[in-house]
Symmetry: C2
């Protein structure tokens, strides 16, 4: 990989996707992961950066590295896959990252979904510190429908309660369509994603109202007050709160993982990755009655545009991706130099 990258301006540079993957791979291996784990995490993180999903791109690397240094997560963990039933696969991630656990079970999950029509992957003893859409989108690219939920760490006050309990608990969904990239969304069940609060704090920006409370439980628009002893609110009042509760039940109770409030990293200063569980459900839509699913989902997209919708969920990411793959990924020079330091 080159030590020099084309500069966009004094503060930014362009880097190719494969080069960024390679650089991140070197960073992860240098900080204690196995090459296999590094490959999965590097591809995941570079994909987020490529798509303009900055809160889950290289912005996350310091958190990964401080967590690895703390001994909180096992960067060398070997996931143990158990074939439980014709539609049910279980993975013990061995206190490692969730993405390598998914990678280890992926083939058997797809085979089961194509055979049984639907299959479930229950990952536990795992750490998920990334965006959730990269976990579901590839299934849709091969014609399957995928849904995933992951719980995280206590930072969201259940609607009607006084104190935080739930994690940001995202729900991601992906479905194929005939004439374009898959329909994909990834939404935190909190009013705002934790990564976006961190970015606002770093930039010195305020949050919109209704996103969070301070350490006294009072509404605040100061991202630092939310991060320092405060908490987030669920999106959409009692409905978002019910969905967040569902995510705890599916991602933790149903996998054998920890709830968002059940782990204690006090003895691991620097630890940032929630030690919980993740659930994936994959469906084979070729089992459906009538016209092909991809034609039908395309028809829904057509009608959504016809009523005036300009942008589908995922559209902005896919446009940024196309630009990144053509012109290179824009990265701050300081961040790029920091990555090169960490890799060497």
């Amino acid at each position: 990989m080159s030590a020099q990258s084309p500069t966009v301006d004094n503060a930014s540079a362009l880097i190719g996707f494969d080069e960024l993957v390679g650089l991140l791979h070197a960073v992860f291996v240098k900080h204690g992961t196995s090459p296999q784990v590094a490959a999965t995490l590097a591809h995941n993180c570079a994909s987020a950066e490529r798509d303009g999903a900055h809160s889950h791109g290289i912005f996350r690397i310091p958190g990964y590295l401080s967590t690895l240094a703390s001994g909180w997560v096992d960067g060398q963990a070997l996931p143990v896959v158990t074939d439980v039933a014709s539609g049910f696969v279980r993975v013990d991630a061995g206190n490692g990252f969730a993405q390598p656990a998914l990678a280890a079970a992926r083939d058997v999950l797809v085979t089961k979904a194509r055979s049984a029509g639907i299959a479930l992957l229950a990952i536990h003893n795992s750490h998920h510190f990334a965006a959730l859409w990269p976990d579901v989108e590839p299934f849709a690219e091969e014609g399957l429908v995928a849904l995933s939920v992951v719980n995280s760490m206590t930072c969201v006050v259940p609607h009607g309660a006084d104190r935080p309990l739930f994690g940001t608990n995202p729900i991601a969904f992906a479905a194929p369509r005939a004439d374009g990239p898959p329909i994909v969304f990834d939404l935190a069940t909190s009013a705002i994603a934790h990564g976006d609060v961190q970015i606002a704090a770093r930039k010195g920006e305020r949050l919109p109202p209704g996103m969070g409370v301070d350490s006294l439980g009072q509404p605040t628009t100061d991202p630092r007050a939310v991060l320092e002893g405060g908490a987030l609110l669920p999106f959409g009042g009692h409905k978002g709160s019910a969905l967040s509760m569902m995510v705890e039940l599916l991602a933790a109770a149903l996998t054998g993982g920890h709830f968002s409030f059940e782990f204690n990293w006090a003895d691991h200063p620097g630890a940032r990755t929630p030690w919980t569980g993740q659930l994936l459900i994959v469906i084979d839509p070729s089992k459906t009655a009538g016209q092909s699913f991809a034609e039908r989902s395309q028809e829904l997209v057509r009608q959504m545009h016809a009523v005036g919708l300009r942008r589908l969920p995922g559209d902005r990411r896919h446009r940024t991706r196309a630009k990144s793959l053509e012109e290179g990924i824009v990265v701050e020079l300081d961040a790029l130099n920091q990555l090169r330091d960490w890799a060497s």
Copy 2:
């Protein structure tokens, strides 16, 4: 069934659950359903009334009857169940109601879920005019986790669009717990349920802000303006809108049913029931690693109470149910007399 019921006051009477089921059964049969369909719908409708879910109780009967009279739905339909794969069951509801289709496939669905770990039921060519929680709660009562979505009829403007396209598209979820009735929620992905708008209009009440728009697409709190050419908004902005889109894809595209915008009842004056599809996913949590699911979900409930939550989703319904079963269901005398007229 007795022609006299104990009166609560001048306007209300008490009726036992079984007596209400019997009365509703007679009403349905009298208006053209088969006894089997009547049994399913009567139990469903009486259950909603018993639980205080008035917008889906006997309030719905006039809509059922005008729909049956219009010839829009087949009250005698025989659902056709197809065993597609080890985790996938399909039902063609034959232009009948969705609940008898679910009843017809229920045993095979449960058998598949217990064997495969997860199973999917895809109902199409069906009409769903009831609450969704009665479809999922019974699975949790026998130790299973259940999720269901149903699309309905165009009345919700996608976030960022100008005109309505989605239905109210509810999501219902049920999970067992060790020391109490199942955890159950049923939430419209619209900011308010259509039935609640109808009830507000009937009572002459205003809606809270942010629920709907009038026929010109302008925000309104007048339920009649929403019902007469206006539309609802999704709950929670773009996130609720994404979930509503997911419900269209799962309940219609994945079942072979109509999207909420695809049926035209113009030739059937009086028709009220959306002709779409419904998806159910049932999971056997005994396949989970570690402690029993019901113990784990109970622990979540315990912690939700510990952070100050007074009422769980479903709590109010279960309390009303207990009172109704002990003392009888409170029904307006006028409504009860109307039901007796319709039954005779």
